[in-house]
Symmetry: C2
């Protein structure tokens, strides 16, 4: 049966590309606007959700961690996607003839350098989303108009990629988490675990907690601190560990942390994407 | 002499409010567009810069940390500002008569709940920036048009605050850093230090480094990990410590970290704002 996947954005958005990379093409996406709470709302009546959680330029998205703690889905996978922007126009359109470029303001801003050097003659016009702007180009059927979006959006609307990787910062990738409703009974294949640790704000509390993982030879791939809203002196730590939840070393470390009175919330365990 | 301060955004933007909270009103701001690199460019010919580095909803801004490491200014202060959005109109304008609301798309999105319940009749229209949209309201002189921006923007243009704190999430604050060109000889008054630590990706390397601070009774107020672009297995850690750089305990901890062969970059030392 075709799975229903709630995502942020439209068909051929980067969330859609991430969802298809994880699930394949036999899915029905449920497109959602921002804020991210709408993705979590739509997830209620979908099978899975795919949601950005971290971007290499902007950092971790606190808003998504808040929703993970509040709504308690289970992270069952991750997708790390390079954000490669393309200039998209009608098949046969010439770069020199482009007079108008449409896209989401963030995408326009990511490609400013390319636009000012290669298309100084073009007017930049804001659209609601990247993929949707390619739909407009297809509809208008005018070779002087172009859009900025993913290569997937060009394919979806039968348009041509006129230039690729036009973003200024080529180290731009986004990490997406795949959300399921229930924690599976076994997570055998998992080699990564995401959790949230709450610690008192005393010197050494974090060093001690991390030593518990180090004692078991467990590597961290992410740690982000965050003050607890309304509880001065309490800190949350978002932590990703390079070990599956079923691994004995992690079970020992978690038991030790529990014994020391720390609050640990497991967000999920899954296979590492890169 | 009036100091020149490079900021992101225009007069009466939240960056401007932060700059005035730190320096007082006798400043000349140098307004800059996004991306944040433009603020760092403008800083070259200004006395100071004020730049957002962390938001309670969106998290730490990696892009700004990259610029701090590349350009090497000295963080000489911080400002933590609640982001309180106001509905702003002509003096005497009535909420029920508002038909159009102008603002930056992010601000419109932050206030969606208020807009849909209190002003369901109003059309939402995107503007380039929050403060600028208040300027438009003042120019148009039409009591059916309103803008969303800071209270400072209302004051600047002689407009009225029709409703305040209209953002959906009231725990929205942004932390700004104040950047100077040189590290002062003394940082006596400082009680906070920001640094970047580079560690090998081995189990326990972070736990060991943090124990060095804990051994000296030093508290962390922030820790964020980040993979080093192009160097797999190397991690950077953005760390804020609750102690000034001149404090003997920190000097001992830093000496120990150096001895163990870790790379430490001090970004600044300053007085804590909250």
């Amino acid at each position: 049966m075709t799975k229903k996947i709630a995502i942020q954005g439209e068909r051929a958005s980067f969330h859609d590309v991430a969802a298809r990379q994880f699930f394949g093409d036999d899915i029905t996406i449920v497109p959602c606007d921002l804020p991210f709470s709408k993705v979590f709302d739509a997830f209620e009546s979908a099978d899975f959700a795919v949601c950005a959680i971290e971007n290499s330029i902007h950092g971790v998205i606190n808003e998504v961690y808040d929703l993970l703690l509040e709504r308690r889905p289970w992270i069952c996978g991750e997708v790390v996607l390079p954000i490669e922007q393309c200039l998209i126009g009608l098949p046969g359109a010439q770069l020199a003839a482009i007079r108008e470029v449409y896209s989401h303001p963030v995408a326009l801003s990511q490609c400013k350098q390319f636009l000012s050097t290669t298309l100084p003659q073009a007017k930049l016009l804001e659209a609601d989303d990247t993929a949707g702007s390619v739909g407009l180009i297809a509809k208008w059927n005018d070779p002087t108009k172009a859009a900025i979006a993913s290569a997937a959006a060009a394919k979806l609307y039968g348009m041509a990629v006129l230039a690729k990787a036009i973003e200024t910062n080529h180290h731009n990738y986004t990490r997406f988490v795949v959300l399921a409703h229930k924690r599976p009974i076994e997570v055998k294949e998992a080699n990564k675990t995401s959790l949230v640790l709450q610690l008192p704000h005393t010197a050494g509390s974090l060093a001690k907690a991390l030593a518990t993982f180090a004692d078991q030879g467990i590597n961290l791939s992410l740690i982000v601190s965050r003050p607890v809203v309304g509880k001065p002196g309490q800190y949350l730590f978002y932590i990703d560990l390079e070990v599956g939840l079923n691994n004995e070393t992690l079970q020992i470390a978690l038991a030790n942390l529990h014994t020391e009175g720390n609050t640990i919330e497991i967000l999920g365990s899954y296979r590492k994407n890169v």
